[in-house]
């Protein structure tokens, strides 16, 4: 590590991924600077759904299934630490989650895929296919069109906004510095020192973590790395606060700890357009009201679009640079599910520890064969 740098590590990106890693680094005693863009940035961290989700992840890629399972398992102590540090309750609930179906063929096809996944994952992968009566036991408010659901006790949910606030607060309490409105442009690497230019300011560090979401695509090549990420839009509707009626998160609908119900399952390839469309919003609202007829009378108070950060195969990239030792790139589209991993084993790895198991599966080299 270069002794003449201002910081041990500069993290570019103050979203869910960047703040989780930065929090893990300062907790380990590092001097850390986070450079974050302004409020006009795309900010997947402020638009997401808040699932701590395992089921269905890593079909045909067991390493990602195991990585997600480990991520979910690390959540309880992570949330407890954040609560102790900041007093912020991130509303973590991990009582299991449901993927609800209105079409029997789709349910059967999905169940078959999960069976294959469970057989190949190499550790217990508990899940159940429920008939409507089984679903009703967990969610009494489901409608007559529901044909069944897939339940796993591994799933959960959390308030993503409280999480981001808790991460920022904990990071700051440990002495971390967060610069907002800082648009990292040029990066230079010389004699073991990274110099990052953001506007008129220049900052130096011994290590550099790229956690800039869609911005990683342009930043990674500056330090001998690669992050071929593209945007994928999701839209969300949120209702007025309603009496608690849905304890379990589902892949389409979840009721937050504050009573509002989030509805959202769209996936669209529309470039960098983070707006909303009447077509998708009305489709999702109709579907949600079929799943939960009580929602038919609820007011929608906000809708928004946000851009997922997708690699070509949908799995994360974790990679250390060989050209510029000390530079790392991290990108994924599950910054909530994996937050505890990022603050834990990934931060430990960046601090100089051994790479966690599975990490070899997430090198960007897999896109260059």
């Amino acid at each position: 590590m270069a002794g003449n740098s201002e910081y041990d590590t500069i993290v570019i990106g103050g979203g869910m991924v960047g703040m989780s890693i930065a929090y893990g680094l300062v907790r380990g005693g590092e001097r850390v600077l986070v450079l974050d863009q302004g409020d006009d940035a795309f900010r997947a961290a402020r638009g997401n759904f808040g699932l701590v989700w395992v089921q269905g992840k890593g079909i045909a890629y067991p390493a990602y299934a195991r990585w997600s399972m480990a991520g979910a398992k690390a959540w309880p102590s992570f949330a407890a630490n954040l609560h102790q540090q900041t007093g912020i309750d991130v509303q973590l609930s991990q009582i299991g989650g449901l993927d609800i179906y209105l079409d029997a063929d789709q349910l059967a096809a999905r169940a078959e895929k999960l069976r294959t996944l469970a057989d190949g994952v190499g550790e217990p992968y508990p899940f159940k296919v429920l008939d409507p009566a089984g679903v009703r036991e967990l969610c009494p408010e489901i409608g007559p069109d529901v044909v069944g659901a897939i339940f796993t006790p591994m799933d959960g949910h959390v308030s993503p906004l409280r999480l981001l606030r808790a991460l920022v607060q904990a990071f700051t309490q440990f002495g971390g510095e967060l610069r907002s409105g800082a648009d990292a442009g040029a990066i230079a690497f010389r004699d073991g020192v990274f110099t990052v230019t953001a506007g008129d300011e220049r900052y130096t560090s011994g290590k550099l973590v790229l956690a800039a979401g869609l911005g990683n695509r342009a930043l990674a090549p500056l330090v001998g790395l690669s992050a071929p990420v593209v945007p994928n839009r999701g839209q969300i509707l949120v209702t007025e606060r309603l009496r608690p009626f849905l304890a379990y998160p589902t892949g389409h609908v979840r009721q937050t700890g504050d009573g509002g119900v989030q509805i959202g399952d769209s996936k669209e390839d529309v470039g960098f357009d983070d707006g909303t469309s009447h077509e998708q919003l009305s489709r999702m609202a109709r579907q949600a009201a079929r799943m939960f007829p009580v929602l038919a009378g609820a007011n929608i108070i906000r809708t928004w679009g946000a851009l997922r950060i997708m690699t070509p195969d949908g799995f994360p990239i974790y990679q250390a640079s060989t050209d510029c030792p000390g530079a790392f790139v991290v990108t994924c589209h599950s910054g909530v599910t994996l937050a505890a991993r990022h603050a834990g084993v990934i931060a430990d790895w960046i601090r100089g520890g051994p790479p966690p198991d599975e990490l070899g599966a997430f090198s960007a080299e897999r896109f260059h064969v």
């Binding site: 606060r241 309603l242 009573g259």
Partner: protein, 101 residues
């Protein structure tokens, strides 16, 4: 608690939880209820805390009441109408059947 600066003009009659209330014609229902001393407007369905309007411009959703049998109506966003029936005890959109009891 609230008093109209110009209290004149036409009056209309609405029903608030079975009570007949004279209100100024043509004003938002939320204002009419505030002038009639209706507090709170609702209780939150999550914690049961009493609530009243915060923004009076359609954003805060704290002024929801049941109007003519329809629950979850933002009182600041509709005009009073003669004979309107308002239930302040049931601002919960999921309360359903008891909204127009």
């Amino acid at each position: 608690m609230f008093r109209a600066l110009d209290g004149g003009g036409a009056k209309q009659s609405i029903d608030v939880d079975g009570r007949r209330v004279q209100v100024r014609a043509g004003i938002p229902l939320a204002i009419a209820l505030l002038e009639a001393g209706v507090i709170p407007f609702r209780k939150t369905p999550v914690s049961g805390e009493p609530r009243a309007p915060v923004c009076l411009m359609g954003v805060c959703f704290e002024c929801r009441v049941a109007v003519d049998g329809r629950s979850g109506v933002q009182a600041c966003m509709i005009e009073v109408a003669d004979g309107m029936s308002v239930r302040i005890s049931s601002g919960d959109a999921l309360a359903g059947d008891d909204a127009d009891v």
